[in-house]
Amino acid sequence: MTMNWFKFASPAAFYPIAGRLVPWLAGAALILILFSLYWGFFETPERLGGSNPQKEYYRIIFIHVPSAWMSMWLYLVLAGWAAIGLVFNTRLSFMMANAVAPTGAIFTFIALWTGAFWGRPSWGTYWDWDPRLTSELILFFLYIGYIALHSAIDDTRRADRAAALLAIVGLVMLPIIFWSINCPDPNQCAALHQRSSMSKVESNILLAMLTMTLGFWLYSFATAFSRLRGIILTREADSTWVRDVVAREAA
């Protein structure tokens, strides 16, 4: 069977597809996020944990954990598209990487911010140079670095390649972030941050957390595709199909 896998790799083909997907993705994201907020605030216990439970502030988990997951996942997506762009030299891949970066940076910031607001009541401090916190902060700088490097180079193709390389080198941070709390011997990585133990979480809390994750995931798709449309139009402004699109959408 021969199938042209690169058919949708053409910006002209992907632009209308993304346009049709965005409202559905955004709508589904909104529904999931609202459901998660309702469930997280009204259908969950007031306390988390056994002998020394966390009080109401544990509810920050419903945005903290999903946004932290998204921050790492989106970086993987960003570096993945950057790598595909370098290997196959497809224009759309670089544009995808570009479109994902700001959303990833926002989720990384949210993970850090909500972590600080959770850390203060539970650990007594907003910030600590704990392995997990520090590596997540470096991830934030990587996103910022990617965006800054890309916008510092005027030649788009060169900017794509340089920023893609930075993104791929930055991939080294992902296992560090993961193992910074999940290392085999807890004494080896003396972390303030708890180890992840999803199996021990109460089912209502887990439900709210997972729906929020799915909601954030769809939100990321919606924003990335929407940003991608702008990038495509800007970069392909010379081609004839853009002329038709602009004439149609302006009308």
Partner: protein, 82 residues
């Protein structure tokens, strides 16, 4: 009313809970609004570029097509540079 106040207090941790949730959704809403407005800006800018090129083609069919000389900011130029 009482129940609502109780809900807003979050057992005395209102500052942390609403500080975290508030900033999160403020950022997400800001991102969506920024995307909307930038989409409009891009459409009108690219439209202007396309029209400009069209009128140039009509005036001088032999002229190179990529001589758009509208004043552009650095950010705007970036996407089209080659």
């Amino acid at each position: 009313m009482e129940a609502m106040l109780e809900f807003l207090r979050q057992g005395g941790y209102a500052f942390f809970v609403w500080g975290a949730f508030g900033v999160t959704f403020l950022l997400l809403i800001a991102e969506t609004m920024q995307l909307r407005s930038s989409q409009r800006t891009i459409l009108s800018r690219v439209g202007r570029l396309v029209r400009l090129r069209g009128s140039q083609d009509a005036a001088a069919p032999a002229a190179p097509t990529h001589t758009a000389s509208t004043p552009k900011t650095r950010a705007e130029t970036r996407g089209e540079s080659r």
